[in-house]
């Protein structure tokens, strides 16, 4: 799988602005980032082995399995997953339905525990933590964005965003200040007091992202954040992720079925049948905030 990838010593911090818009079409129509190489020689992908030396790993899993017992049948949702994700990564996870993407995300997000294997988050063994400590980690280190948004209906967006801060024991004034900032960041500065059910799908997802950002976590995990949105709105979300990744250095991992979305990521991990089948780094990923198709 990795054989067809060019190795490159170029550092990953690249100028996305350098890409011209007409580059996008053939790329987007391809079967994914790693195939871009075949169609266009100007693209570089690289094995992330190089960058391991440079950057600090925030997520390290070794031999993670997850088994569900359904009566007599045993279902291996994950069968030995080793991944390492570095600070500042922008990772898309792709794979067919039922391949274990959500299962993996939930484990990485400390929402679920693996059946076996080890998981280190920021160098700390997650298996050794009790439920309260895990809740603390979910609150402080991780921002989770769900496909179905999971907002509190009939609650103003600013209150929705403020919820994690309540559990972080942040005082009322500070809370609303930070919630407002987070909403401004996702471009909803004018929708602070709209109730969640009065917003469009894209806006709701942005509120959900603001809620994930508000605690200023190191990692944002998003399970099909654009799955319920049209491609234009999906691009807006993608642009937001790129901006957060570039400006704040947040590590962002998300699941998507859409190759166009994935083409905006630095790294694409492919998963099938509970195993990693591909892990490619794209040097010249697209700028979601500029592309024609994704233009707001």
């Amino acid at each position: 799988m990795f054989g067809n990838l060019l190795k490159s010593k170029k550092p990953q911090a690249i100028e996305t602005n350098g890409l011209s818009d007409d580059d996008m079409e053939p790329h987007v129509n391809g079967n994914g980032v790693s195939n871009g190489l075949a169609s266009n020689a100007s693209r570089f992908t690289m094995n992330n082995g190089v960058s391991e030396l440079i950057r600090k790993p925030v997520i390290e899993t070794k031999g993670i399995t997850k088994t569900y017992k359904m009566g007599d049948e045993v279902l291996n949702a994950l069968s030995g997953v080793d991944i390492t994700i570095y600070q500042g990564d922008l990772v898309a996870i792709m794979g067919p339905s039922g391949s274990g993407k959500s299962t993996l995300m939930n484990i990485v997000g400390c929402l679920d525990k693996p059946t076996s294997g080890t998981y280190k988050l920021d160098g700390v063994d997650v298996e050794k933590m009790n439920d309260d400590q895990l809740a603390g980690i979910r609150n402080q280190k991780i921002g989770f964005v769900f496909q179905s948004f999971n907002l509190l209906r009939r609650t103003p967006s600013i209150e929705n965003v403020a919820q994690p801060l309540i559990y972080a024991n942040v005082g009322g004034r500070e809370r609303s200040k930070r919630s407002r900032e987070a909403l401004e960041m996702v471009g909803l500065g004018k929708r602070l007091h709209h109730h969640a059910n009065e917003l469009s799908g894209g806006q709701q997802q942005r509120v959900a992202i603001a809620r994930a950002l508000v605690t200023d976590p190191a990692i944002i995990l998003a399970d099909e954040p654009t799955g319920n949105l049209d491609s234009k709105t999906g691009a807006e979300i993608m642009c937001l992720f790129q901006t957060l990744n570039a400006q704040r250095g947040m590590t962002i991992i998300f699941v998507t079925h859409d190759p166009r979305i994935a083409s905006h990521c630095k790294r694409v991990i492919r998963i099938a049948d509970g195993r990693i089948i591909g892990d490619d780094v794209t040097v010249d990923f697209l700028d979601a905030c500029k592309g024609d198709t994704f233009r707001e």
Binding site: L111, D112, R138, L152, P164, A168, T215
Partner: protein, 411 residues
Amino acid sequence: MLFELLKLAIRTLRANGARSVLTMLGITIGVGAVITLLAVGTGVQKYINDQFSSAGTNLVAVQAGRAQRGPGGGGFGTQAAITIDDYRAIVAGVTGVTDHAADFSRAATFVYNAKNSEVNVQGVTASYLTVRNIAMGEGRFFEEGDEQARARVVVLGPTVVNDLFPDEEPIDKMVRLNGVPFKVIGVLAPRGKSLFGDQDATAMIPLATAHERVFATQARTPNGDLRLNTIMLQTVDEKARLAVKQNISDILRVRHRLPDDEENDFTVLTSAELIDAFGAVTGVLTAFLGAIASISLLVGGIGIMNIMLVSVTERTREIGLRKAIGARSRLVLMQFLIEAMFLSLLGGIIGVIIGVVGAKAIEYFASFTTVVQLPAVLLAVGFSLLVGLFFGIYPARRASQLNPIDALRYE
């Protein structure tokens, strides 16, 4: 944090307005019923105390027949009677008594100005007013001399005056009792209704006059003795009561020639005993009413539990989300507990208001004093909080133990 959870609870309850109100209703009705019924019970108790203490607590009363299980216990024996000779013997033989009185009362036809009515006529000794602690309205009461002279003088209760002399001055008017002419010499001060009826619907005449002139045919026993309804003695103090009671018993048993194995054919009651007896009855009544009302509180509590369980199921995804964004189990538990307790506390407070209004309404429409006591209010409010806590714990625990992943997946 507690404050945040409280705000959250209020917002959630407001968002589900109709349901919250209906849930609260159970507790509200329960607490309202407890408050009102306790107020009525306490009112009855207070009323009885007032009744008897107005008659003086050092009073000992002797009546014919055997009282069966306390006051109002019904049937006095019929054959035995107490007589004026018993009265004299008691007065002569009992020590520790400051004053005494006796009465003989029957219904009589009362005629004035061609107006005819049936009135309870009490033949009483001149001392009756003092012993019973009754005040005069106008005119005078009769004296020993009137009694010895079997004077045909009558003192009327206010109800009789209202009925028969609506716009006339009754004093010095001539009336007829069972056909015997009488002169009205006074009117009693109003005393109001008692447990046994209107105390003001009475006409008092000297005992001897009643015996000899008005009720001559009914006044004598087969042996020719003059009957009495009640003998009343005022003891020097509370402590003398029991001794006096025993003393009377001894004298009457000898006079009535009762063998040792036979029970008294008369009843000696003290006012304190009456208060106690009534107090016991009303106490049981109050407890009974309270118990019934508590059952409705219990039902209200089950209603809260029911709704909270529904709420937990309905909000499974919310719970999953809260856990996913870092709520610890204990906080989720507290959130639901606070919701349940807030709901029941609010229901309880509204219940107290409704209960007090209910008690006042009873007082207004039934002209009956009710007493809302602070301890009862605190008890009811505290109890409703406990109901919320007790019935909220199970749903709250269910919520807090949800696994975030399963909860988020819940449809």
